[in-house]
Amino acid sequence: MRLFPVACRAAEQKMADLFTGELHIRERLELEAHADSCARCDAALRDLSTISVALDRAYAPLRQRGTLLSPARVRLAARVEPRPVATWWRVGFVGRLSEATMALGFAALVLGGSLDIAVKPEIIPAASAPSVIKDYMRTQPPYEETAYLRWLRFQLRAIGAAAVPAVRYPAGGQYDVEQVTIEDDWLNTAGPR
């Protein structure tokens, strides 16, 4: 079933091009010639022209509006923001499970605190308790001279040394070695004072 002649349908399709300014001059002349011979297309063309002008005028004030936005606001908005990291306890089933576990733990803490359960600590005798500090101090030589000699002799005996070397001490303020005197020390820094 055909409602309109082909010429009217073609004219309607050309009307949209006419209002967008993309109709060739030859087609425009054809459209106007058809509108002269067809009252219906003539009315449609006239009405659509009226609407086109009305739309143009309706949007005219809006076309003159502007904004004072600055590019700095765009840069601020475009700043790469850190993505919120979904913590593991917030993720689905794991989150529910952790919540239930924490609830159970808290309940156990409350109930356990209310129960009087006497737990006797195991007493370790002090004598048999190992002490790293004592072992360390035992292996260190004492500071006092006589105790040091005794400790040294004991150590040498413990490792199986044959004889204890004789220790020579300075006697009467004299050294047991020859003193070296630097003759050309004009600053007099090397000699004994």
Partner: protein
């Protein structure tokens, strides 16, 4: 008025094409991005304003559109103008911010602006024009989103059919048919207002006598 008071980029930036500006901005030239911003700022603002009818939403849309462009600088490859890409983003953002049904926002007409620009007209003429504008914009609001965006992009932003096709991502023929359908719907809607002088539509009235031929043969002697 607004362009004069706003900070404008240098003349050399305005002469460069969008492609050159995008490549320069990609290399860290912020003046190039500013030039792009000032080039399309007002158009995107108006587009957002026409769809959302809220100036604050329109500003947010403009900022969001350019911030997306800023983030997408590395993969932007504008063959010609960057405008279709920006407008497409702005249209999508605008429809996400459209007011809900039943929410009445202030109309788009700017009476103060009109008064400022046409001081020689009488108040009655201005009021009549504002009323006509309100009727037309209300009629545009009755259109569906696909048809309304075509009307807005053509009559307010001045885009041609090819640019509209790029923005709405469909063939030019589809844009043409949508625009024609929108105009016909507006004609039907505005014919109820005698101020426009539009005749009531008789689109379904057949123009051929064959269509009115009765399906049943008339009886002999009955006038045809």
């Amino acid at each position: 008025m607004t362009e004069q008071s706003a900070k404008r980029p240098a003349q050399s930036e305005e002469r460069r094409t969008d492609r050159e500006l995008v490549y320069a901005a990609r290399d860290g030239d912020m003046l190039a991005f500013d030039a792009l911003f000032y080039r399309y700022r007002d158009g995107i603002y108006r587009l957002g304003l026409a769809i959302t009818k809220d100036p604050s939403h329109a500003e947010e849309i403009a900022v969001d559109t350019f911030s997306r462009a800023y983030r997408a600088l590395a993969r932007l490859e504008p063959e010609g103008s960057l405008r279709p890409w920006l407008y497409r983003v702005a249209v999508n953002l605008s429809y996400n911010r459209r007011p809900r049904k039943g929410v009445i926002l202030s109309p788009l007409e700017d009476s103060a602006n009109d008064t400022f620009q046409s001081e020689e007209r009488s108040p009655s003429v201005l009021a009549e024009q504002a009323e006509l504008r309100r009727i037309v914009l209300a009629a545009v609001d009755t259109l569906g989103p696909k048809h309304r965006i075509v009307v807005v992009l053509h009559y307010m932003n001045g885009l041609n059919l090819a640019e509209i096709a790029q923005v709405v991502d469909c063939p030019i023929g589809t844009v043409k048919s949508r625009l024609h359908y929108a105009l016909r719907r507006l004609r039907a809607h505005l014919s109820a207002h005698p101020e426009f002088g539009i005749e009531p539509m008789t689109l379904l009235m057949p123009s051929s006598r064959r269509m009115v031929a009765p399906a049943v043969e008339p009886l002999p002697g009955e006038p045809q």
